[in-house]
C-alpha cells in the first residue's frame, strides 16, 4: 500500500492532493480535445458533446450524427441523446442533476433525472432574434448572454421564467461569469462581464462598471463560496480579488505565452489553469505548482471542495488536503491524531510502544479520536479508512467516556460512500459533497441511474423513506415495459401496495404520458389522495369522477377548477344536470356566477325550477337598474315568476308594492320637486310629513296599509325633528293615541320643549303616580308633581319632593303637605 502522502504536493505552505478515482475512462479513440465536457455538481454525471468549432477527422457515418452523451465519472455511458435540433450553445447541469441544453435560437431543453423526456422552454423573443452566445449555470439557474449583449436569467426550472437583467454595455464580452444569488448581497444573480479593460457587474436592476484597468481579462471565475474572483489578464497574470472588488488578494505570473484553455477554482483557496495537457495549481499568495504528467487532453470539472480532472485515461480529484488528514498523515506530524495512528501500528507489531504513545497523548486523546474519525471520512482508499477507524476505535477503548455517535455515523456514511464510488456506479462523491448533497438526493441520483436495488439498500441502511424509489421504478416500468396493461398494473400494484407514502398518481401520470390511458385510470384508483387524482382524471375524460373526487378532497379550489373545465366541455343542460346532484358543486357555481355570469344562473334556476331564487335574481337586477322604468320592468318579471304558485303570494304583493311605491315617489318628485325615489314607505311618509304634505302622507298610509301605530310614531318623530310645535300641540288635544301618550312626552322632552311635553303628562293616565311625578319633575314643574302626589294623597312622596324643590315650588309643596295634614 502506498503511503498516504504519496500523491500530495506542496503549494506554498499548504498541501494539495490528487486522488485517482478511476482509470481507463474513455475509448482511447475518443478525441477528447474536440469535445466540450461539463460535469454535474457533487460528482454527478458528465455530459460530452462535440465542439462544432473544431475540425475533426471523419470516421464513417455513425459518428457524424451529433449527440450529447452522458457518462458517469467512471466512463460508463448512461444515456445518449441524439441531437438534430439546431446548434448547441451551452450544456449545463443543475443541482438535482437536471441537464439543460441551450441552442442558438434560445430554446432550452430541460432533461430531468437523466432518464425522462425533456421539457422545452424559450428564452424569449430577443434570444430568437439575436441568438444566444453563451450560458453560465449555477445550482438552480442560469444566465444566457445574447448576441446583442443582453442578459437573460432563469432562476428556477420547475417553472422557468426568463427575466431580462439590466442592459449590459456594448462591446465585445471577452469573458464572463455569474455569482449565484445565494452569495450576492442583493439576493439576485449578478453577472460579471469582462468588457474592454474592465469588469461590469450586472444584476436585475443595474449595471455598474467596476473600473479596473488591467484588462482585457481572458478568463474570469468565481470561487464556489462566491467570495473571490480570479481574473486572467492578457499578459499572463492571474489575479485574485474579493468579489466586492474591494481587496486585491494575490497575483501570479504564469510566464506562459498562450493563454490557458480554462481557468477554474479548486475549492475556495486555489485556482487551476489548464492548457492542453498541463495544469497549474495556484494557491494563496501566488504560490504555484505544475502538473504536466498527463499524456492526453485535460478537462476541468470544478466542484465545491475541489476539482475533477478528466482525461481519456484517468479521472482525478484534486483538492486541498483536508485539515484532519494533514494532521494525521503529514510527515513529521506530532499531533495527537498522528500519534494515535502510530500507536495502532505499534499494537499490530505487538510493541509496548503502543502504550507509551497512548500515555503521551492521554490528555487530548478524545481530540485524537475525533481527528481520526474525521480523517477517515476524507479517504478514498478503503484500506486507509479502516486504518483510521481502527485507530479511533482503539483510542475510544482507552477513554472512559466518549460519545461514539460521530464514529458510528462515519462508519455508516463510509459504507454508503464506498458503495456509490464503486466504478460500476461511478459516483466518486467526497464526504463534503455528500453532506452538502444530503443522503436523500444521493438516493435520488442512484434512482436516476436506475440503480434501484442499491438505492433501496442505501435507503434502508440510512432509514430513509423508500416510496420515491418504488414510484420511480414503477414510472420507468410503465415507460419501458411492453407487457399488457393488466398484468403490468397488477405487478406494479403488488410491488407498491402497502408501502407508506407511495403516490400512484405519479405512476399513472407516467402511464398517461406514454399514451396508456387505460393503465393510467386503473393505477389512479390506487391513489390515496382524492385531490391528486383530479387533473389526470380530467385529462383522460372522466369528468364526473373527477368532480366527485374533487368534492371528496374538500378543496374548493379543485372543485371550482373541475367545474370551469366541465363548463367549457359540456353543453349547458348536461352541465346543470351534473352539478344538480352535488350540493357543493351547485353552491360553488352559484356563488361564483353571482359576480360574473348572472345569465348562467338564471338559466340554472329556471332549469332547476328554483323560482324564488330566480325572482330574487331579477330583483337584484332591478336594484342595479339605472332608472325607474327599467327597475319596474325587472320587478314585473320577478313577480311573474312567482305568480303561478300561491306559496309566494306575500312576496308577489311585496314586489307589486315596490313598483307602486316607485310610481308614487316618481309623482311626488314631480309635484314637490324633492327627491323621493329610493326611500322606503316609512321614510316617504316621514319626508311627506316633514315637508308639510299631510294629505299625501295619509294617502300613502292607506295605500300601503301602514298601521296606525307605525304611522303615529313616524308622524311624531317627523314633527319633533322639524320642531313643528303647533302641530304637536294640536295632537295633544286628541282623545286617543295608538301608541299612548308617553312617547309624545319623551320625544318632545328629548327635543327640549318642556312646556309642550308637560301637556302630555295628564294624558298618561295608565301610568303610576310616581312615574307621573317623575315626568313633571323632568319638565321642571315641581308644584305640578306635588299636585299629583296630593291627588294620590301620598305624603311620603310629597316630603321627598320638598327636598328636591326650590323657591316658590317649595312653598307650594309645604302648602300641600299642610293641606294633606289638614285633610286627615
Amino acid at each position: 500500500m502506498s503511503k498516504a502522502t504519496a500523491d500530495w504536493t506542496r503549494v506554498g505552505d499548504r498541501f494539495y492532493r490528487r486522488t485517482q478515482l478511476y482509470d481507463s475512462i474513455f475509448d482511447p479513440d475518443l478525441e477528447l480535445e474536440n469535445y466540450i465536457v461539463t460535469g454535474a455538481p457533487y460528482s454527478g454525471a458528465v455530459a460530452l458533446y462535440r465542439d462544432e468549432s473544431k475540425i475533426y477527422s471523419f470516421r464513417g457515418s455513425q459518428t457524424a450524427k451529433s449527440s450529447i452523451d452522458l457518462y458517469s465519472c467512471a466512463g460508463k455511458l448512461i444515456r445518449r441523446i441524439t441531437w438534430d435540433k439546431g446548434r448547441i450553445v451551452a450544456v449545463g447541469w443543475s443541482e438535482e442533476e437536471r441537464l439543460l441544453v441551450v441552442t442558438n435560437d434560445g430554446t432550452v431543453r430541460s432533461y430531468a433525472d437523466l432518464q425522462s423526456d425533456f421539457s422545452p422552454f424559450s428564452l424569449g423573443h430577443d434570444a430568437e432574434e439575436y441568438g444566444v452566445r453563451g450560458c453560465k449555470f449555477w445550482s438552480t439557474g442560469f444566465v444566457a448572454l445574447l448576441g446583442n449583449n443582453k442578459l437573460v436569467a432563469v432562476t428556477r426550472y420547475d417553472e422557468p421564467r426568463p427575466q431580462a437583467l439590466a442592459s449590459a454595455p456594448v462591446g465585445e464580452v471577452i469573458s464572463w461569469t455569474v455569482i449565484p444569488p445565494e452569495y450576492t448581497s442583493s439576493r439576485s444573480v449578478e453577472v460579471l462581464l469582462a468588457v474592454d479593460g474592465t469588469v461590469h457587474v450586472v444584476d436585475a436592476a443595474e449595471c455598474e462598471d467596476r473600473g479596473l484597468q488591467a484588462g482585457p481579462f481572458r478568463h474570469i471565475s468565481v470561487s464556489p463560496n462566491g467570495k473571490f474572483i480570479s481574473l486572467y489578464t492578457d499578459d499572463g497574470k492571474v489575479w485574485v480579488i474579493s468579489s466586492d472588488f474591494q481587496d486585491r488578494l494575490s497575483e501570479y505570473e504564469s510566464k506562459v505565452k498562450t493563454p490557458p484553455k480554462d481557468l477554474q477554482w479548486c475549492g475556495n483557496n486555489a485556482i487551476v489553469l489548464a492548457w492542453e495537457d498541463e495544469i497549474h495549481l495556484v494557491g494563496p499568495n501566488g504560490a504555484a505548482s505544475k502538473f504536466d504528467d498527463y499524456n492526453s487532453f485535460v478537462h476541468l470539472l470544478p466542484d465545491i471542495d475541489g476539482i475533477r480532472i478528466l482525461t481519456n485515461t484517468v479521472c482525478e480529484f484534486l483538492q486541498k488536503v483536508p485539515d484532519s488528514t494533514e494532521e494525521v498523515y503529514r510527515v513529521g506530524s506530532t499531533s495527537p491524531g498522528s500519534v494515535l495512528l502510530d500507536a495502532v501500528e505499534q499494537l499490530d507489531k505487538k510493541s509496548p510502544k503502543a502504550d507509551d504513545n497512548i500515555q503521551m497523548i492521554r490528555s487530548n486523546l478524545d481530540e485524537a479520536v475525533d481527528v481520526c474519525v474525521r480523517a477517515a471520512g476524507q479517504e478514498y482508499s478503503v484500506h486507509r479508512q479502516k486504518q483510521l477507524l481502527k485507530a479511533a476505535s482503539f483510542g475510544k477503548s482507552v477513554l472512559d467516556l466518549y460519545n461514539s455517535d460521530d464514529f458510528v455515523d462515519m462508519t455508516e456514511v463510509l459504507r454508503v460512500l464506498n458503495a456509490v464510488r464503486f466504478y460500476e456506479i461511478g459516483l466518486p462523491i467526497s464526504y463534503e459533497q455528500y453532506i452538502r448533497l444530503t443522503p436523500e438526493r444521493l438516493v435520488q441520483r442512484l434512482v436516476n441511474r436506475q440503480e434501484y436495488l442499491l438505492a433501496l439498500k442505501v435507503s434502508e441502511f440510512l432509514h430513509l423513506p423508500v416510496d420515491r424509489i418504488y414510484v420511480n421504478w414503477a414510472r420507468q416500468k410503465v415507460r419501458s415495459s411492453s407487457t399488457d396493461e393488466d398484468s403490468l398494473c397488477e405487478e406494479i400494484v403488488r410491488k407498491l401496495n402497502g408501502k407508506r407514502g407511495v403516490s400512484f398518481e405519479e405512476v399513472a401520470h407516467a402511464a398517461y404520458d406514454e399514451g396508456r390511458g387505460k393503465l393510467a385510470t386503473e393505477l389512479l384508483e390506487h391513489e390515496p389522495r382524492a385531490g391528486k387524482q383530479v387533473p389526470l382524471l380530467l385529462s383522460v375524460g372522466e369528468e364526473s369522477v373527477a368532480l366527485d373526487k374533487a368534492i371528496e378532497s374538500g378543496d374548493t379550489d379543485l372543485v371550482f377548477y373541475v367545474l370551469l373545465n366541465l363548463k367549457k366541455k359540456m353543453p349547458l343542460s348536461s352541465f346543470f344536470r351534473t352539478i344538480n346532484s352535488r350540493p357543493v358543486a351547485t353552491s360553488i357555481v352559484e356563488s361564483s356566477a353571482i359576480d360574473q355570469d348572472q345569465e348562467l344562473l338564471k338559466d340554472f334556476y329556471y332549469q332547476d325550477d328554483r323560482r324564488v331564487d330566480g325572482s330574487n335574481l331579477l330583483l337584484s337586477e332591478a336594484l342595479a337598474a339605472g332608472d325607474i322604468n327599467a327597475a319596474a320592468d325587472k320587478m314585473k318579471m320577478a313577480a311573474k315568476l312567482l305568480r303561478d304558485s300561491k306559496d309566494y303570494t306575500a312576496q308577489v304583493v311585496a314586489l307589486e308594492d315596490a313598483q307602486k311605491l316607485l310610481r308614487f315617489q316618481e309623482a311626488f318628485e314631480k309635484d314637490l320637486n324633492e327627491p323621493f325615489v329610493g326611500l322606503s314607505v316609512n321614510e316617504t311618509l316621514s319626508k311627506l310629513i316633514k315637508t308639510g304634505n299631510m294629505k299625501r302622507s295619509q294617502k300613502v298610509q292607506t295605500e300601503f296599509k301602514v298601521s296606525d301605530k307605525t304611522f303615529s310614531w313616524i308622524r311624531l318623530r317627523a314633527l319633533v325633528s322639524r320642531r313643528y310645535w303647533i302641530e304637536l300641540e294640536e295632537l295633544s288635544k286628541g282623545k286617543k293615541s295608538a301608541i299612548g301618550w308617553e312617547p309624545y312626552f319623551n320625544e318632545i322632552l328629548g327635543a327640549g320643549n318642556t312646556k309642550l311635553a308637560s301637556l302630555f303628562i295628564p294624558k298618561c293616565t295608565h301610568l303610576a303616580m310616581a312615574e307621573r311625578i317623575e315626568m313633571w319633575l323632568k319638565c321642571g314643574l315641581a308644584n305640578k308633581a306635588g299636585e299629583e302626589a296630593l291627588k294620590a294623597k301620598d305624603r311620603n312622596a310629597l316630603e321627598e319632593l320638598r327636598t328636591k324643590a326650590t323657591g316658590s315650588a317649595q312653598l307650594d309643596i309645604d302648602r300641600m303637605i299642610a293641606q294633606l295634614q289638614k285633610g286627615r
Binding site: R161, Q163, A164, R187, S188, A204, A205, E440, P465, D467, R468, V471, R500, G501, V502, S503, E506, P528, R529, G531, S553, G554, D555, T556, D557, L558, F560, Y561, L564, V584, S587, I588, V612, N616, L619, S620, L623, A625, A631, Q651, A654, D657, A658, L661, L662, V677, G678, S680, V681, N682, E683, S686, F704, V706, K709, T710, S712, W713, I714, R717
Partner: protein
C-alpha cells in the same frame, strides 16, 4: 416533525414572526423599488404582523388597493399581494396587469404573491387572460394570524356568509389546512371534539388530510423527510374543540355586554383597531409612534385609528369585564394616577427618588394616555347604552334569552321598527327569536316582514330571503325540531332550547358582574351555549354542580363529551368525538414514558368555525383562567374571523337601494 421540543405551549408569537419573515423574504426576492398592490381586506391583516415602515425598508414605494384600479407605472416592479381563492380577484389582477402593460412605456416586472396558496383556478384565469407567463408567481402560506397571545384568526371576513349563506366550504378547507399546520408543529391533537355539521366536516377533513399527509410529504422534495414518518399525538395540546357557529347563532345575535364587545358593536373592531372621531378621544393628539403602521392611506383628519391590543396599558384588564364595571374601574385608575402625581409634587424628593420617578415616567404617561382614550370610548358607549332604544332592545333580548314567551315581545319589536331603529338591530332581535324557538309563527313572521319592507325598503326582500337561507329567520314548521320524535335522531336539525337552557344552565338570574363567578356575566345573565359546550368538556364538575344542586350527585367523569350526551342530542348538528393515535403506537408510548410524570401544562384549542364574538372570547378567557388556577391548563382560541351580530346579519343585508 413530532412535537416541538422547546414548545411548552402554543406560541403565537412564532406564527407572527414566521409570517413576517416569509413576507419580507418574498419582497426581497424582487430586486429594487417596488409598488405593492393589496386587496383592501388584507391591509389590516398584514398590519398585524408587519409595519409599513418595515415594508418601506424592503423597497416598497407605494401601496395601492386592488379595488381602486389605480395602479400606476411609477415603479418597474409591481407586486400583487392577494388572496387567491376568489376568481373575481384574480380576474381583476389580470385586467390590471394588462392595463398597466398597455399604458406604460417601461417594461414592467410583475409578481403575484397568493395568500395562502396558489390555486389552480388562479392559474387558469390568468392563462385565459394571457398573463400567466407575465408574472412571477409565489405564495405566502398565511393561515392563522395571531390577534392576541391566546387568539388566532384566519381573518376570513367572508367565512360566515360563505358557510351559511352560500353553503360553500372554502373556509372549512382553509381551517383544516391551518389546523393541520398546527398539528405538524405541535403533534396530533390527541382528541378532536366538536359540535355541528360543519364541525363534523372539518374533523373528517382533518382525518383525511392526515392520511394524505404521508403521501404529500414524500412527494414534495422541499420538505424534510422527517415529516413523512407520520405524526404522533401532541404532548402540548390536549384536545381540539370545534364549535360550528350554526350550533349557536343566538350568542352571536345577542348584544355583547363586555367592554370589548360593546366597542365592537359600536365602532367595529377590525384587525385589533377601531376608527373613531377624534372628538370621542377628547381631541387627544396622536401618540408619537402611531401603531397604525398599516398600508392604509392617511385617513380623514377627523378620524383616528386606535389600536386595541395588549400593548395598551389598561386595555387588557378592561376588555373582558362587563361594561357595567368599567366606569368604577376607570375612576379608580384615574384616582391612582392622580395621587401618584400629587405625591411627586408634594414631597421633598431626593435625587434617587426623582430618578426612579423619571424612569417610570414613560409608562406613567402611556397609562395616562390610555386612560384618556378609554374614558372617551366608555363615555361614547354610555351615550348609546343609556338611550331609551337601547334599553328597549336589551329588554326584548334578555326576555328572549331567559326563555319567556316570544309573543310577549312582539309589540316591543314592532315599536322598534316604527321608531326606525337601525335595520340590523331589528333583524338581530327577530333572528334571535327565530333561532331560540325554531322559527317564528308564519303569520307573525309575514307581518314582521311586511313591516320591515315598508320601514326599510323593498330591496330587503333579498335580505329576508338570505336570512332564511342562513337559517336565521325562518317560519316555524310543524315537522321541524324536537316536537317531532322521528327527527330527534342523529343529525338533529333544531335545538330544543328550553331543555338545553335548563340542562346547561344557560340563564343565571343572580349574575355577578363586578366579580364574576360564571361566564354568564358577559351577557348579564345569559351564558353562551358555545362556551357551555366547551365547559362540558373542560369543566364537567363545575357545570354539573350548577345544574344538580342536590347534594350527593356525583359529577360525571371521563373525557370528551361524557356525561352530557343527553344534552348534546338536543342540540342541532352532528357531534364529533375522534381520538387520534400515532402510526407507531410503540413510539408514542415510548415517548410518553420518556416524558414520564412531568406532564407539562396542557392546552385546549377551541376552534370556532364561522366566527367568534368578543363576548365569547371573554367568557373563554374566564374559563381558561379558572382552569389555569385549578390544573394549570389553558385555552387557545382559533377562529375563522371575529364576528358580531351586526356582521352576521350584515352578511344578508342588501346594501343597494332602488335607482341610485
Amino acid at each position: 416533525m413530532a412535537a416541538h421540543p422547546a414548545a411548552k405551549a402554543i406560541n403565537t408569537q412564532e406564527i407572527t414572526d414566521k409570517a413576517r419573515r416569509d413576507l419580507l423574504q418574498l419582497l426581497e426576492a424582487v430586486r429594487g423599488k417596488k409598488n405593492l398592490v393589496l386587496e383592501r381586506s388584507l391591509a389590516g391583516t398584514i398590519g398585524l404582523f408587519v409595519k409599513f415602515s418595515t415594508l418601506q425598508e424592503y423597497g416598497v414605494d407605494k401601496v395601492f388597493f386592488l379595488e381602486n384600479h389605480n395602479v400606476d407605472s411609477s415603479q418597474r416592479n409591481v407586486i400583487f399581494l392577494l388572496r387567491g381563492d376568489n376568481a373575481k380577484t384574480v380576474r381583476t389582477v389580470a385586467e390590471q396587469i394588462k392595463l398597466v402593460r398597455s399604458e406604460s412605456k417601461i417594461d414592467h416586472e410583475f409578481s403575484i404573491i397568493w395568500i395562502p396558496r396558489r390555486t389552480r383556478v388562479s392559474d387558469m384565469v390568468l392563462e385565459e387572460h394571457g398573463v400567466l407567463g407575465e408574472a412571477t408567481i409565489s405564495e405566502l402560506a398565511l393561515y392563522f394570524v395571531p390577534l392576541e397571545q391566546d387568539l388566532m384568526s384566519l381573518e376570513l371576513e367572508s367565512s360566515f356568509s360563505d358557510l351559511y349563506l352560500r353553503k360553500e366550504p372554502t373556509s372549512v378547507f382553509a381551517s383544516a389546512t391551518a389546523l393541520m399546520r398546527l398539528q405538524k408543529q405541535y403533534g396530533l391533537f390527541p382528541r378532536i371534539l366538536g359540535k355541528g355539521d360543519n364541525a363534523k366536516r372539518l374533523a373528517d377533513l382533518l382525518q383525511r388530510m392526515r392520511s394524505e399527509e404521508d403521501v404529500n410529504a414524500s412527494s414534495d422534495p422541499s420538505k424534510t423527510y422527517l415529516t413523512s414518518f407520520g405524526l404522533t399525538p401532541s404532548s402540548v395540546v390536549e384536545n381540539l374543540i370545534i364549535i360550528d357557529r350554526e350550533v349557536d347563532f343566538p350568542t352571536v345575535l345577542a348584544t355583547q355586554l363586555t367592554y370589548q364587545g360593546l366597542i365592537d358593536e359600536n365602532f367595529g373592531i377590525s384587525n385589533n383597531q377601531i376608527e373613531v372621531d377624534t372628538s370621542v378621544l377628547g381631541g387627544a393628539p396622536a401618540p408619537p409612534q402611531q401603531q397604525s403602521g398599516t398600508a392604509q392611506p392617511p385617513t380623514a383628519a377627523t378620524k383616528r385609528k386606535v389600536p386595541l391590543d395588549s400593548s395598551d396599558k389598561l386595555y387588557p384588564s378592561l376588555r373582558d369585564a362587563n361594561f357595567a364595571t368599567i366606569g368604577p374601574t376607570l375612576n379608580q385608575t384615574a384616582r391612582r394616577l392622580q395621587s401618584d402625581q400629587q405625591n411627586i409634587k408634594q414631597q421633598d424628593q431626593s435625587i434617587a427618588d426623582l430618578r426612579s420617578f423619571v424612569s417610570k415616567l414613560p409608562s406613567y404617561q402611556a397609562e395616562q394616555a390610555s386612560l384618556k382614550t378609554h374614558t372617551g370610548l366608555a363615555e361614547e358607549i354610555l351615550k348609546v347604552t343609556r338611550s331609551e332604544v337601547f334599553s328597549a332592545m336589551l329588554e326584548v333580548q334578555q326576555n328572549l334569552l331567559a326563555g319567556s314567551d316570544p309573543s310577549t315581545v312582539h309589540e316591543n319589536i314592532e315599536e322598534l321598527i316604527a321608531r326606525d331603529v337601525p335595520l340590523k338591530t331589528v333583524l338581530r332581535l327577530l333572528c334571535l327569536e327565530s333561532c331560540l324557538s325554531n322559527g317564528i309563527r308564519s303569520r307573525d313572521l309575514e307581518s314582521f316582514k311586511r313591516q320591515i319592507l315598508q320601514a326599510y325598503g323593498f330591496q330587503h326582500i333579498l335580505t329576508l330571503a338570505d336570512l332564511e337561507k342562513i337559517g336565521l329567520l325562518v317560519p316555524r314548521e310543524s315537522h321541524r325540531g324536537y316536537l317531532n320524535p322521528i327527527a330527534g335522531a342523529a343529525g338533529q336539525t333544531a335545538t330544543d332550547w328550553n331543555a338545553v337552557r335548563k340542562s346547561l344552565n344557560l340563564w343565571i338570574d343572580d349574575v355577578q358582574e363586578t366579580d364574576p363567578n360564571d361566564t354568564a356575566y358577559v351577557f348579564s345573565g345569559y351564558a353562551p351555549l358555545s362556551v357551555r359546550l366547551v365547559q362540558c368538556i373542560l369543566q364537567k364538575s363545575y357545570l354539573s354542580g350548577l345544574v344538580n344542586t342536590r347534594p350527593g350527585s356525583t359529577p360525571p367523569t371521563g373525557g370528551g363529551w361524557k356525561g352530557f350526551e343527553d344534552t348534546l342530542t338536543r342540540i342541532r348538528g352532528a357531534t364529533v368525538d375522534v381520538t387520534q393515535k400515532g402510526h407507531d403506537a410503540d413510539a408514542s408510548h415510548a415517548r410518553k414514558t420518556l416524558r414520564g410524570s412531568k406532564e407539562g401544562p396542557k392546552v385546549s384549542v377551541v376552534f370556532f368555525l364561522g366566527g367568534v364574538t368578543y363576548a365569547e372570547i371573554a367568557a373563554l378567557r374566564f374559563v381558561s383562567g379558572q382552569l389555569e388556577k385549578s390544573s394549570g391548563r389553558r385555552i387557545v382560541i382559533g377562529t375563522t374571523h371575529v364576528i358580531s351580530g351586526n356582521r352576521a346579519v350584515g352578511a344578508a343585508v342588501e346594501k343597494r337601494k332602488f335607482v341610485e
